[in-house]
Point group: C2
Chain length 340, copies 2
């Protein structure tokens, strides 16, 4: 079946190509309602679909949003092992689709800038999830493209921000351990980057310890890559080297799930021998055994909110910069034992 062109529509409606084009682009031209209806009918009969690539050249809008998530390493695969990213992308895709946008999820090769992608695809806006080097964020500012950052403390006034109070989140997780009478509490986290959420969470961990008069002990802090295997490795190390902890506060459910596995592999049990608390509340975290006690973020809500802000920014160049702090809560399941 041949695809219907704009010319086909014009011929069937008995009008000029320019007229069809004006109607498609909502141009400010005097066109009678009768002509509009004729063109609309012809489009329906021919199953005509405008080419958004062509429309992008006319309207300077591609109806496409770039979504940035971390890669496992430079130039490599997207970090889908952590389902935080697929869950949030699912929400972004759904809400973007509802307002007529598609999303482009793409990594970049080594030595390739994301700016190239923005230009190639004529992206209308960007949603970036996570922490990247400052140069990376600066390119969006240079281009002047509307950008929403999720989970970054880069507070440049060009960017809209969505996040949670990460310091408070880790404070609450640590306090939960303390309230369950743990005093020897480890901190298992991703890399503490400048402007990153992990640094804030680390501060919250320290604040809670401090409140309970427990000295901060660097040997109980484990800064690793955020994946299951690193969780296993740290748990293995804790058992093998008899590191003196009874509970672990983590900054990601994948680390917590890995740690639980590591303890089991080392012949220990959670929560009998060690207590573990997560951060995120991934879908899977309620289906593992023991169910993971964790800080529940509204992952879906973060994605939805990012699309809502971006939509407003796309439609109104003067839309003021937004900084949204989402709610969160502790979900109690079975991975933390009361020591009293």
């Amino acid at each position: 079946m041949k695809r219907a062109t704009l010319k086909d529509v014009a011929e069937r409606a008995g009008v000029s190509k320019a007229t069809v084009s004006y109607i498609l682009n909502n141009a400010d031209k005097p066109i009678t309602e009768e002509t509009r209806m004729k063109v609309k009918k012809a489009m329906e009969e021919l199953q005509y679909v405008p080419n958004l690539g062509a429309a992008a050249l006319t309207n300077k809008t591609s109806k496409m949003i770039g979504v940035v998530i971390p890669q496992t390493e430079p130039g490599s695969q997207l970090m889908f092992q952590n389902s935080f990213y697929s869950e949030i992308i699912s929400a972004i895709e759904y809400h973007a689709r509802k307002i007529g946008y598609h999303i482009l999820v793409s990594g970049t090769d080594v030595d390739e800038s994301y700016m190239k992608l923005v230009y190639e695809r004529n992206l209308d806006g960007v949603i970036a999830i996570g922490v990247y080097p400052d140069e990376f964020f600066q390119q969006f500012k240079k281009i002047g493209i509307p950008t929403v950052l999720i989970d970054s403390y880069c507070k440049d006034e060009h960017f809209h921000n969505i996040g949670i109070d990460d310091e408070l989140g880790a404070y609450m997780a640590t306090k939960y351990m303390l309230e369950h009478h743990h005093t020897k509490i480890g901190f298992l986290s991703g890399e503490m980057k400048e402007d990153g959420v992990i640094k804030k969470r680390h501060e919250g961990y320290k604040r809670a310890l401090n409140e309970y008069g427990i000295p901060y002990d660097k040997t109980k802090v484990f800064e690793v890559e955020v994946d299951f295997n690193c969780g296993i490795e740290v748990a293995t190390k804790i058992v093998k080297e008899r590191i003196d902890v009874t509970g672990i506060v983590t900054t990601a459910d994948v680390l917590a799930i890995g740690a639980i596995k590591g303890f089991h592999q080392a012949g220990k049990s959670v929560p009998k021998d060690y207590s573990v608390i997560g951060f995120d509340d991934l879908e899977i975290s309620k289906y593992i055994t023991p169910g993971l006690t964790t800080i529940k973020q509204d992952i879906y809500g973060k994605g939805k909110c990012a699309v809502e802000i971006l939509e407003k920014a796309l439609n109104d160049k003067k839309y003021p910069k937004q900084s949204v702090e989402m709610q969160f809560e502790i979900v109690e399941r079975e991975s933390v034992k009361n020591l009293s």
Copy 2:
């Protein structure tokens, strides 16, 4: 920073816009090496990036591939709860990017056809994962767009196919249970659709039972939605209604993981009271406790292979239809008990 245009490049190189356009599009025109170099230099200096939307109009190629995955329900979110899809998309994105393509992952709204998406975005090819109504596949054939189907038994000669021997996979899983002296074996599966993988797996389950002289018992077959909760529900039902099984063959790891959780919630233990075998070998399946014994599919390999085939089909209109059967194997972990 203003984006450099084709006109800017032409001016800096001191050539006409047409010349720059010819070079960009590899047009068959007599252009001297010197001119080519001048234009190349101007592009580099201006950080010129061609607009692929514009190129698409000239070359009829968008360098974009559509990737279709199921939605949780018509018009709703993409089915990212099952990380099978994020794992395979990760592989597809990576390999597509390596050959200069981007992927478009989009659901469709109710009453919206995927054909509209193909036209709007001028997609070059499609990779569809899973089983859809025949009309859905037929639209790709009508449009004549190169299409690779993953995990579908729709053998229309228009489509390239990638899959595994699903009948054999479930046969092996069931035989594994039988070899571990289970004789009361349930089958927990997704919906058995025409041309779908589940129907084949159901046949493999029956063949293994038959080989061991065990009559097929419909009351031990549970056909549900493929998600964690359905796994929990079936396990709960088995315990509550004392359905006479000791082992469950499942057609997806998410069902198996849900079933394990359901048994635990009902006060039973895996593998002590019930044995469970999965299908897929998701990343998470080795990190849960007990580790899931499962049929390991090469999910990454399926995605990579789909891109390789599509690339050949895009470059050669006469590329013959491919039908690839991937390898698989049983991974033994801890979720099946030997009853002898």
